[in-house]
């Protein structure tokens, strides 16, 4: 997926994600809200990073920028060697599909689809047939213990199970990075612990994970924690 034109000389192959002086503002009415202020961050391949911050600190905006769902106003962003800040919308769509696995606080499963249909969706978007996609995601489904839930609708599952489905969906495309936005925010504490244990397991399997949370207890599961306060990053 690496685009030679977008590759930046000097980026270490061991760096999965690099932000340099990233700024992001929103215009609300006539006021300009400076959300991200000169954010610089590096995440190595295979690292499990937690970005910790209170509500309104700008962590979700940072997540959107890292997840290529929003573009920074200024600064540079490289993801697995790709210069995201110079990439057009069409290529960003492909990057979201192939390089990033999203895990959301509210799971964001499509309610009318079955578990299997939700999980294979990123693969279908790559042009695979349903059959091929279903076959290629069986390992992930087994890993997450969802074998007996494949024909269920999300509404028929518990919160923890739904989050497992969301994690399976994020993993099936074998993305370069997993982005988790408050992954335990909607779960009870024991289920949350299970999910965090799963994250640690995935990290040990070599997955790079960036997790955003407001909960220090959750953040402690990561191998590195950075804080974001009023749009500024503090190691």
């Amino acid at each position: 997926m690496k685009n030679p034109q977008c590759e930046e000389a000097g980026i270490d192959d061991g760096t999965m994600l690099r932000l340099r002086d990233v700024n992001k503002s929103y215009h609300m009415a006539q006021e300009e809200l400076h959300i991200l202020k000169n954010i610089s961050l590096e995440v190595s391949k295979g690292e499990f990073l937690a970005i910790l911050g209170p509500s309104g600190s700008g962590k979700s905006t940072l997540m959107n920028v890292i997840g290529c769902m929003d573009l920074a106003d200024s600064g540079e962003y490289y993801l697995d060697g790709i210069a995201i800040h110079r990439t057009k919308e069409k290529a960003l769509t492909r990057i979201r599909n192939q390089e990033i696995g999203f895990i959301f606080q509210k799971y964001h499963l499509i309610p009318t689809y079955t578990v299997m249909q939700n999980i294979v969706m990123p693969l279908l978007m790559r042009g695979m047939s349903y059959q091929e996609a279903a076959e290629s995601c069986m390992d992930t489904i087994r890993l997450l213990g969802l074998e007996n839930r494949m024909e269920h609708k999300p509404s028929e599952l518990s919160g923890g199970q739904q989050q497992r489905v969301a994690i399976a969906r994020a993993l099936v495309g074998r993305p370069a990075i997993l982005l988790a936005d408050e992954p335990t925010g909607a779960l009870d504490s024991s289920t949350g612990k299970e999910v965090l244990a799963l994250f640690s397991q995935l990290n040990r399997l070599g997955n790079t994970i960036v997790m955003i949370t407001h909960d220090l207890g959750v953040a402690k599961n990561a191998s590195r924690v950075v804080r974001i306060v009023d749009g500024e990053l503090q190691e």
Binding site: I95, F104, Q117
Partner: protein, 491 residues
């Protein structure tokens, strides 16, 4: 995304929202049903026209006379006082000075006027069979000399006759037929007929029923392309002897006697007089000279005039032009000949070609009206689809955000919503076609001919898909343009 997988997603969405899909497609159902019915009724109308006129000779010209409205009123108010005022017929080939001698037929006079108009040249041409007699006198007195003739013609009293057309009762006669035969070139046949609604009894009828009774000549059958199932048609001999014989239309025979066989050689009472059924027509299914032969009863012309027509028969002279392309010329010549005989009369002339064109044009107008209606229904249905899709996009904004976050392209989202709109339309179109097939018997019960066709069904579904896709495009486009972050955070 592969087309098959895209269609699978569309299918899932439709299955999950069956009720909404059906409700959304109602406009399209009605539109598609309308299209099918428009085409079917249009085709039915065309076939009806074709069938009605299939036996009609394209060169046929019907000539009849109608009293002007004010004259009709005047005659009605003065009825009972009229005596001999009617101008029955002028003498053809009378020469120049004669027209001024036509009586205006003052309705209140009845007295013989003076014949004041110059001489009557070439009186030798005047035949004894001149239609005369008073309005209430009936009959055709055989005036032997011109002295009697004067009693039927009243001077105009000096008013400008050219401004007062169709003031007098005129009865077209066999003499007019002869005039046309002699003086109008390019015609192959001429006949005179008249028809009236007359009560009929006999056979299996439990009470008197009104039928169209037509007094016709022998050549009427050939001119109207009538064929007989059994027996023979009215003959010249029947006509000359004023015989009380009749020929029944196929439907009339069936209604009155149960079958053609039972009808043949039976006695039928027309206006309380017995007639022998001499023949039964084959099923014709067409209209000839304004008469539906299947439901008519034909009698000799002279018999009809004598026993049924009453005081004011209104016969029709039918002329067949040898060459259809000469119909207009023939009409002009007929009018010239008749104007010679009746200078103050304007005749109603209808040619079959014009009738066919008028019927066809009328049918086309109806079809256009229905097409316009179908177009409106489709537009309304399309707006309904657009509205529902907008709501659907709004409802599914979060889903669209998820798809975008997962890497779904704008094109795939556009196609997904477009296919959904098209699928709703196809479902609506198919339901509409089914609905139209279902209501066809009901429409047919309303005496509207419906000819369903595969082409109509295909067109309806095509129109439905086009409507759904066109009206579904904008909501689909809006969905594809949603910003991922905003869509994802939409509750």
């Amino acid at each position: 995304m592969r087309l098959k997988e895209l269609l699978r997603i569309v299918w899932i969405n439709i299955i999950q929202n069956k009720f909404k899909v059906v409700l959304t497609s109602i406009g399209i159902v009605v539109g598609a049903a309308t299209i099918v019915m428009v085409i079917a009724i249009g085709r039915g109308g065309q076939m009806e026209v074709a069938e009605q006129f299939k036996n009609l000779n394209a060169g046929a010209i019907d000539i009849s006379y109608e009293l002007s409205a004010d004259a009709r009123e005047s005659r009605q108010s003065g009825s009972g006082q009229t005596a001999g005022g009617g101008m029955e017929r002028a003498v053809p080939d009378m020469g120049g000075g004669f027209p001024g001698a036509f009586a205006t037929g003052s309705a209140d006079s009845g007295s013989a006027g003076t014949f004041g108009g110059g001489g009557l040249p070439d009186m030798g041409n005047f035949e004894g069979g001149f239609p005369g007699g008073s309005q209430d006198g009936g009959g055709r007195p055989d005036f032997g000399d011109f002295g009697n003739f004067g009693s039927d013609f009243i001077m105009s009293g000096g008013f400008d006759m050219s401004d007062r057309m169709n003031q007098e009762q005129i009865t077209l006669s066999e003499a007019d037929v002869e005039d046309i035969e002699v003086f109008v070139p390019g015609i192959s046949a001429v006949s005179i007929s008249y028809s009236s609604r007359t009560s009929v009894e006999g056979g299996e009828l439990e009470e008197a029923v009104t039928y169209t009774v037509a007094g016709v000549k022998e050549n009427y059958a050939e001119m109207s392309n009538l064929t007989l199932e059994m027996g023979e048609f009215i003959t010249d001999s029947n006509d000359e002897n004023t015989e009380k014989v009749c020929v029944l239309g196929a439907q009339a025979a069936k209604e009155i006697f149960g079958s053609a066989l039972d009808a043949y050689d039976s006695i039928l009472y027309i206006d309380e007089r017995p007639y022998v059924v001499n023949g039964i027509l084959s099923e014709m299914g067409s209209v000839s000279s304004g008469i539906s032969p299947d439901q008519a009863i034909f009698i000799p012309y002279s018999t009809g005039i004598k026993y049924i027509a009453g005081d004011n028969p209104n016969p029709t002279v039918t002329v067949i032009a040898e060459d259809v392309s000469d119909v207009e010329t023939v009409i002009a010549n007929i009018e010239t000949v008749l104007a010679d005989s009746y200078p103050n009369a304007e005749f109603t002339v209808n040619d079959a070609g014009s009738k066919m064109e008028a019927a066809s044009a009328s049918n086309d107008t109806l079809t256009m009206l229905l097409v316009a209606m179908a177009a409106i229904v489709f537009i309304v249905g399309g707006i309904g689809i657009m509205n529902v899709l907008f709501v659907s996009v709004k409802e599914r904004t979060n889903e669209i955000g998820i798809l975008k976050a997962l890497g779904c392209t704008k094109k795939d989202i556009l196609l997904e919503f477009l296919f959904e709109a098209a699928a709703i339309s196809v479902i609506g179109g198919l339901l509409g076609v089914g609905f139209s097939f279902g209501i066809t018997p009901v429409v047919e019960r309303l005496q509207v001919r419906v000819e369903l066709s595969a082409m109509g069904a295909v067109m309806a579904v095509c129109f439905a898909v086009i409507t759904g896709t066109v009206f579904g495009f904008y909501p689909a486009w809006k969905a594809s343009r949603l910003i991922p972050v905003e869509a994802l955070n939409q509750e």
